[in-house]
């Protein structure tokens, strides 16, 4: 027996970890062989279309479905009451959010419609076109009610209450109070303050929300081909709310055309589609069209934040005082609620800085607008735009450089473990190191010189920094402790094929972010085979272990840990068989490049394929009572602290046309510390995509509601998303601070791009405008808002 401990996954020969290997699934997707739920076609399939409330707030007096039922191709027409007979309502609250209120929500509106676009009646027909034709024949009699559309007045006594049973329009409120904020502000040499506006926007996934529900009455089995980030959560929801046995519900989602948090919430359309399949005993399909997406996919953000920051004359930040008002929809969204974003804002403001005095208050109010919930980077872009904007404002007033004020105030790299005033526990961040890296990466001094030279010529350029600290890879602290049946752990199963290749099935799934690649990299490394030998299956509750899937930047961090454990177990089992064949101690053997080798000598002894052959076809040649275990399952639950915090910093370089108000993004840089980098290319792709969404928030995107609660720009001709032509080059570099709580040490990387970029861009725009005495604090920073700030219109 050898003395040395086995090599860790990070030291194994031919490791794929940390390498920018290409995605094994890229070829399939490029060849048009993606299996998107939108493509699903089943025999006897029918299509559902929805009649939606044209009013933001209305009582439904009556619904006449006669003419629609008689229309060509129509198979069924169902109202809210019809669907409620099959599907139980849900309540979007969590137990750990004390005092949170939301009424039961039904798949289709019942007595009242509470937002423009709420589904009211479902029409099922042989084709989508026939279903839409029949929608026009419905006669729905609405009595318009006064809509509640201004969060500022939502709690006024004069404002109508959307759900009378709740007593008022307050969904949730919360406070954080640490240190002595009043004294800190009273003693401060400088207090900077600002009111910020972050409007609603939405996810705009390339593939819309989609489901094909196939209920088989003979087995009481529901198979849902559902474009979902969280198949296991939906399996649970369908089972409980449709009264089915959990094991009889299978949710499948192979490929997904973008999700960004939009596709993990319970929306009425999918629930209705499943109920209709049960009603009809045949497959029913629903695909949102773009107009439906705008009025029914969850929206995000919508925060009015008033914030102030206390600073000493030397530039020492001593405290924050924050007030966040956020307007959500008429219901808090199930099962993750509509309060998480605000709750993160009031924890995360000031998060990179060592401060003692911190106060933040949150009010979440109900509105007659589309429902609102978690979308990529939940709360972070708001918290860091507020924080970083105030830091720059203080720097300007104290005539300090933005880099210097940050360096002086960050939680120092040697101060960990650290607990923030708002109560968050950091294992280890690298704020100072990341800032130093950025200064070098962007040639900060050179950029400042160029900016100064161009200013002389009347060209207004700005440099903006945006620090972030990000909540990733949560344990049960997010949802499980609040009673939500959302898994915080994930599982990976691996099976050796007789050929020596491996089938791997895992509960984290592929949203386009590269899950299949990461999993194959880790599995191949730990097992000792080539990546090409690993076939990965995701997105099927019927054939993969149970887990949480992909959200909150958790898939790589948690999935890689489940994978490494499964791969190790399989390697040990393979070596047991090899040891029996070779009559050697398994501990003296290893697997490298698909061969069983002597652990010390590296000498090739046997192929893994030979182990497969003997294990499956010739167990008679093995010792008595030896049963080869060539399939394994391992699960991993995040350990240590409730969240794996990551950090980093962005810089944005912009030019403002002070005559038109137009902003040109010249360059964007990202320094990202997501712990162990499993695949630099994939992390960089995540950063770039995330920055693009942050650019959307900073400059373009806004769901514009009228006072009557009508969404006035519900199309891609009017709702502005950044196009590739608007995107600057986005340069990414890495600092690696692995978490010690896991074996590989990866943290999350999926949302950081969105978390920090809006604040960095806002700082860059304000830096450009500073010599003209103008400032903007409302997003999106449209040309008109900028010209207004400049006093030109």
């Amino acid at each position: 027996m050898s003395e040395k401990p086995p090599l860790s996954v990070l030291d194994r020969p031919n490791s794929y970890i940390g390498r920018s290997v290409p995605r094994p699934n890229a070829r399939r997707l490029l060849a048009g062989r993606g299996q998107y739920p939108t493509d699903m076609v089943l025999p006897r399939m029918v299509h559902v279309a929805f009649a939606r409330s044209p009013f933001a707030h209305a009582r439904i007096r009556s619904i006449d479905t006669e003419a629609a039922r008689a229309a060509p191709g129509v198979v069924a027409v169902a109202t809210g009451a019809d669907i409620a007979r099959l599907c139980k309502p849900w309540v979007g609250t969590l137990d750990h959010f004390a005092g949170m209120k939301s009424p039961p929500q039904y798949p289709l509106a019942m007595e009242k419609a509470t937002w423009q676009g709420e589904p009211v009646v479902a029409v099922v027909a042989e084709s989508r076109a026939e279903a839409e034709d029949a929608l026009e024949l419905l006669d729905i009699d609405y009595e318009e009610l006064t809509p509640v559309t201004d969060p500022e007045t939502a709690l006024d006594p004069a404002t109508p209450v959307i759900h009378e049973d709740l007593g008022d329009n307050l969904c949730f409120s919360s406070r954080v109070d640490a240190g002595d904020v009043d004294a800190a502000f009273a003693d401060a040499d400088l207090v900077v303050e600002e009111e910020f506006h972050f409007p609603r926007h939405t996810g705009v996934t390339l593939e819309p929300r989609v489901i094909t529900a196939d209920y088989d009455p003979s087995e009481e089995r529901l198979t849902a081909y559902h474009g979902s980030q969280t198949p296991y959560q939906m399996q649970d929801v369908y089972a409980r709310h449709l009264g089915l046995a959990e094991e009889n519900v299978r949710v499948l989602c192979k490929d997904l055309g973008g999700a960004f948090g939009i596709k993990l919430h319970v929306h009425g359309e999918e629930m209705t589609t499943c109920a209709l399949s049960m009603m009809l005993g045949r497959p029913v399909k629903w695909v949102a069209d773009r107009l439906e997406s705008f009025v029914s996919d969850i929206h995000a953000r919508d925060h009015r934040v008033r914030a102030r920051m206390a600073v000493t004359a030397e530039g020492r930040i001593v405290g924050f005082d924050v007030d966040d008002l956020t307007g959500v929809g008429p219901y808090s969204v199930f099962p993750r609620t509509s309060a998480v974003e605000g709750n993160q804002v009031i924890k995360l403001v000031g998060a990179p800085y060592a401060i003692e005095h911190y106060r933040a208050a949150l009010k979440v109010v109900l509105q007659n607008k589309n429902v609102m919930s978690q979308y990529r980077a939940v709360g972070h872009p708001i918290a860091f735009a507020v924080t970083e904007s105030l830091v720059d404002k203080a720097a300007a007033e104290l005539d300090m450089d933005p880099v210097a004020i940050r360096r002086a105030n960050y939680v120092p790299d040697d101060a960990y473990p650290y607990k923030t005033a708002s109560g968050m526990a950091y294992e280890q961040l690298s704020l100072q190191q990341s800032l130093d890296r950025l200064v070098e990466f962007i040639d900060y001094e050179g950029l400042r010189r160029e900016q100064a030279q161009l200013r002389e010529k009347g060209v207004y350029r700005g440099i903006g920094l945006g620090t972030f600290v990000e909540i990733t890879a949560p344990g049960a602290a997010f949802y499980g402790v609040g009673g939500a049946r959302i898994s915080a752990q994930d599982g990976c199963s691996m099976k050796l094929e007789p050929s020596g290749r491996v089938q791997l099935a895992i509960s984290i799934n592929e949203l386009g972010q590269g899950t299949e690649t990461i999993v194959a990299q880790v599995a191949a490394t730990e097992l000792g085979v080539s990546m090409e030998d690993i076939r990965v299956t995701t997105g099927d509750t019927g054939s993969t272990p149970y887990g949480g899937a992909a959200w909150a930047s958790r898939a790589a961090a948690i999935g890689s840990e489940a994978t490494v454990r499964a791969a190790r177990a399989l390697r040990e089992n393979i070596l047991e068989v090899a040891g029996a064949v070779l009559q050697e101690a398994p501990a003296d053997l290893d697997i490298r490049d698909g061969q069983i080798v002597g652990r010390e000598s590296g000498e090739e002894r046997l192929s893994v394929a030979e182990v497969g052959r003997v294990g499956y076809f010739r167990p008679d040649t093995l010792p008595p009572d030896f049963h080869p275990q060539l399939s394994v399952v391992r699960h991993y639950a995040p350990q240590g602290l409730p969240f794996a915090f990551t950090n980093g910093i962005h810089a944005s370089y912009v030019e403002v046309d002070v005559e038109t108000g137009g902003v040109t993004l010249l360059k964007h840089w990202v320094v990202e510390d997501c712990g162990r980098v499993l695949n630099p290319k994939l992390v960089e792709e995540q950063a770039r995509g995330g920055v693009a969404q942050g650019i959307g928030m900073a400059l373009f995107e806004e769901c514009l509601y009228s006072e009557e609660g009508q969404l006035t720009n519900a199309s891609l001709a009017d709702y502005l998303v950044p196009l590739s032509s608007e995107l600057p080059d986005i340069h990414v570099t890495h600092v690696e601070t692995p978490t010690q709580y896991s074996e590989i040490g990866a943290k999350g990387a999926g949302e950081a791009g969105t978390a920090a970029s809006p604040g960095a861009i806002m700082n860059a725009v304000n830096d450009a405008l500073r010599p003209l005495g103008a400032r903007v604090s409302a997003m999106p920073m449209t040309p008109e808002r900028i010209l207004t700030a400049l006093g030109r219109i």
Binding site: A129, T660, T712, D718, L723, E726, L787, I793
Partner: protein
Amino acid sequence: MYDFQYHRPTSLDEASRMLSGAEEASFIAGGQTLLQTLRQRLAQPSDVVDLGGIAELRGISREGDNVVIGAMSRHNEVAGSADVAGAIPALATLAGGIGDAQVRNMGTIGGSIANNDPAADYPAGLLGLGATVVTNNREIPADDFFVDMFETALEPGEIIRSVRFPVPQRAGYVKFDQPASRYALVGVMVSQGAGGVRVAVTGAGPSVFRVSEMEDALGRDFSADAIAGIRIPSDGLNADIHGSPEYRAHLVTVIAQRAVNAALQAH
């Protein structure tokens, strides 16, 4: 989309006959506007007559002091035409800045001006260059063609054959676009030629319009400074989610100055 009868005539006469024979018919050129209207069920024509098969509506040529562009010319064809680039580069710039590549590969000059979207580029091109619209039975100067928002001088059933642009001494087109569609928030064509100076503004008002005060000033001194102080009133300008009338009024001067500079740089 509702059901309709589809026709593809090969001559102008045949097209006119098909149209007059139908209950409620519509021409289709590139389909970039019409199809969206149909898809959203905002129109319900009984018949759709495709102009794509009519050879006489195609082609771009230089004819003496004019450039003649067939109604079915795609935006990309105009943007890439050597005749256009040689004679009126500002027009090539205009066509090359419409929408995105897909729109430019399908959309046509005839469809664009027949539609007369208040934010479309070509109306400014025609009015700013003093072009003439040639139809199957008459000629209409641009000054008379664009009547109001989505309204032109075309009679029902009248077909645009081509547009004739006099070659100017110099011209410049600049637009400040709306980022989603690239339609003009404000677009200005400025030209100087045999007919004098013309300044035409699209995007700002309900329909394309000329700014005579700027034309007079530029007639005296063709420079950006000459119009720096000219502000057009915001009354009656478009107000929508993309910009207020005040913002558009402000932009007209800024963009007109840039168009003058573009004209000066090109020639």
